[in-house]
């Protein structure tokens, strides 16, 4: 489905070159829910943006169903952390945005948006503007907008990062419910261990910059997962051990940068 081969990203800055992503390779199977977990600044969002086609890679390639990525395409949709809804459009028009951009006629658009708003539980909010909605509701709209264009790959960039703990938990369950219904392949970026283990079929742990895949954990525990159970606790411990090293390195990098600048 998705094949990422020796993908790398370098940025030119005043002091020289920053390697955000170092020769990363991974494959994602059809219908898989893959979480990308790593310390802040490890390049996990960079990886997602390259797969989305929003930024070019410095080396390597991304293939989706055998086709190389050279920019955004109809096979991918992105859910952003800060929702990125258009405040001047109603909830309905936001959901229809991708279809309208593709020139889909109004009847069909309305049919799709009506169904998706029901699926995400916002059937009564179609005519409202985003600023009337809570953070969780906005992210539901953003998910509906992504699903409306029927992508094969759903890219989610820390979508629940701005939500409070309770809303976040509800949204995770909602996302799994929707995912079960639509069976999209998902690449989900997060920095929360619990979130990654609760959601993913696989959890990819990234190293501190330059980012690489450090470990590829398969979570075989059936859903809904018992976050207090032995199996989950064991996985969390294992993940935390793998990650804490990288978090420490990432913090060292930050303080080193703070000293030099």
């Amino acid at each position: 489905m998705v094949e990422i081969q020796t993908l790398s990203k370098r940025y030119q800055v005043d002091e020289g070159e920053i390697v955000a992503l170092a020769a990363t390779s991974l494959t994602i199977g059809e219908g898989e829910f893959v979480c990308l977990l790593g310390p802040s600044g490890c390049g996990k969002s960079t990886l997602l943006k390259i797969v989305a086609g929003l930024i070019p890679a410095s080396g390597g390639s991304v293939l989706i169903n055998g086709h190389p990525v050279a920019g955004p395409g109809p096979d991918r949709a992105v859910v952003f952390q800060d929702y990125a809804l258009f405040p001047w459009m109603t909830v309905n028009d936001n959901v229809e945005f991708g279809l309208a951009a593709r020139g889909v006629d109004a009847t069909r658009r309305h049919q799709v948006s009506g169904e998706l708003l029901r699926v995400v539980g916002l059937g009564d909010f179609a005519a409202k503007y985003p600023h009337h909605l809570s953070g969780g509701m906005k992210q539901r709209v953003s998910i509906a907008r992504a699903l409306a264009v029927d992508p094969v790959l759903l890219l989610m960039d820390e979508p629940f990062g701005a939500l409070d703990a309770q809303t976040r938990y509800v949204m995770q369950q909602e996302l799994l419910r929707i995912w079960r219904g639509y069976r999209k392949t998902v690449l989900f970026v997060t920095h929360s261990i619990e979130e990654a283990l609760y959601l993913g079929d696989r959890v990819l742990i990234m190293t501190a910059r330059p980012g690489r895949i450090k470990a590829d954990l398969r979570v075989s525990q059936p859903r809904p997962r018992d976050v207090a159970g032995d199996e989950f606790t064991r996985l969390r411990k294992q993940t935390l051990d793998l990650l804490s090293e990288e978090i420490a390195r990432s913090m060292e990098q930050d303080s080193a940068r703070a000293v030099t600048s």
């Binding site: 929003l54 992105v78 990125a84 405040p87 459009m89 309208a100 951009a101």
Partner: protein, 276 residues
């Protein structure tokens, strides 16, 4: 017993506080206005200025009545308003597309901004003599001056509005494959609207402030002409009546027309950040 009384009194004062504050503010504002009229009246009564240079408030009211009856005030107000509307409309018609283009295209900025920055500091009034040579005395030259003065606020504001859209919204547009024209229509224009409205508001303001000067020099109608013409007749009451008309129209547009425009657009969308 006493407990309930306190509670009730507390609830009543909470409910009443906002309304009382509004009426207090209104009273203060009205009080200052009345005070101003009184000082005006006293200065007139003391005779600090000769009567042909300093009208009393009643004389101004009388001038209002006379000028309205004779049709002079409505005709001149209409002449000024028409020039103002056409001038602001032309400034918006050129300034908004130009601002969108300059905001969206780096190449356009590099090519056009130096010229804009060079012309922008020239006061609108300085264009009047040239405008008269080009268009003659009257409607066209006054409209031209309003246009040239009003172009800049709307152009620079629109440009700033477009730059606020960079990043988030442009990423969404790219992800969902929005064609260029679709992007302009659905994102660029509505997204910049808070800035565009502020720009039109400023354009309207500077246009209305420059129109009087322009009409004094390049016109034989309009409120500016009426005020200037009153000088030759030693009619300060007519001048002040004209000035008050200008103030009232400006106040009405600022406080009603533009606020209404904001209410039906950016306020409805939750895009208005700070209350004015």
């Amino acid at each position: 017993m006493s407990g309930t009384t306190i509670e009730r009194a507390g609830a009543a004062s909470i409910a009443r506080t906002p309304r009382r504050r509004v009426s207090r503010d209104t009273l203060l504002g009205a009080g200052t206005l009345i005070g101003f009229l009184l000082v005006w009246k006293v200065v007139h009564w003391l005779g600090l200025f000769p009567p042909w240079a300093f009208p009393s408030p009643e004389q101004v009211v009388g001038a209002f009545v006379d000028l309205t009856r004779s049709g002079q005030l409505p005709a001149n107000t209409w002449a000024s308003l028409l020039r103002q509307i056409v001038g602001v409309f032309l400034a918006a018609a050129v300034g908004i597309p130009a601002g969108l283009l300059l905001g969206a295209s780096r190449t356009a900025r590099a090519a056009l901004l130096p010229l804009c920055r060079l012309i922008y500091p020239i006061p609108g009034i300085a264009w009047i003599p040239l405008a008269i040579l080009w268009f003659g005395i009257g409607f066209k030259s006054t409209v031209f001056v309003i246009f040239f003065t009003g172009l800049w606020p709307i152009l620079f504001n629109t440009m700033a509005g477009v730059s606020t859209l960079e990043g988030q919204y442009t990423d969404v547009a790219r992800v969902y494959l929005a064609p260029r024209l679709f992007y302009v229509r659905k994102i660029l224009i509505p997204g910049s609207l808070p800035f565009i409205i502020t720009g039109v508001r400023l354009t309207y303001g500077v246009g209305w402030r420059v129109i009087v000067g322009a009409e004094m020099i390049s016109s034989i109608t309009g409120l500016g002409f009426m005020i200037d013409d009153a000088r030759w007749q030693l009619r300060p009451d007519v001048m002040v009546a004209g000035m008050i008309t200008i103030a009232m129209i400006g106040w009405f547009m600022e406080n009603w027309a533009f606020d209404w425009l904001e209410r039906v657009t950016i306020e409805r969308w939750g895009m208005k950040t700070a209350p004015r």
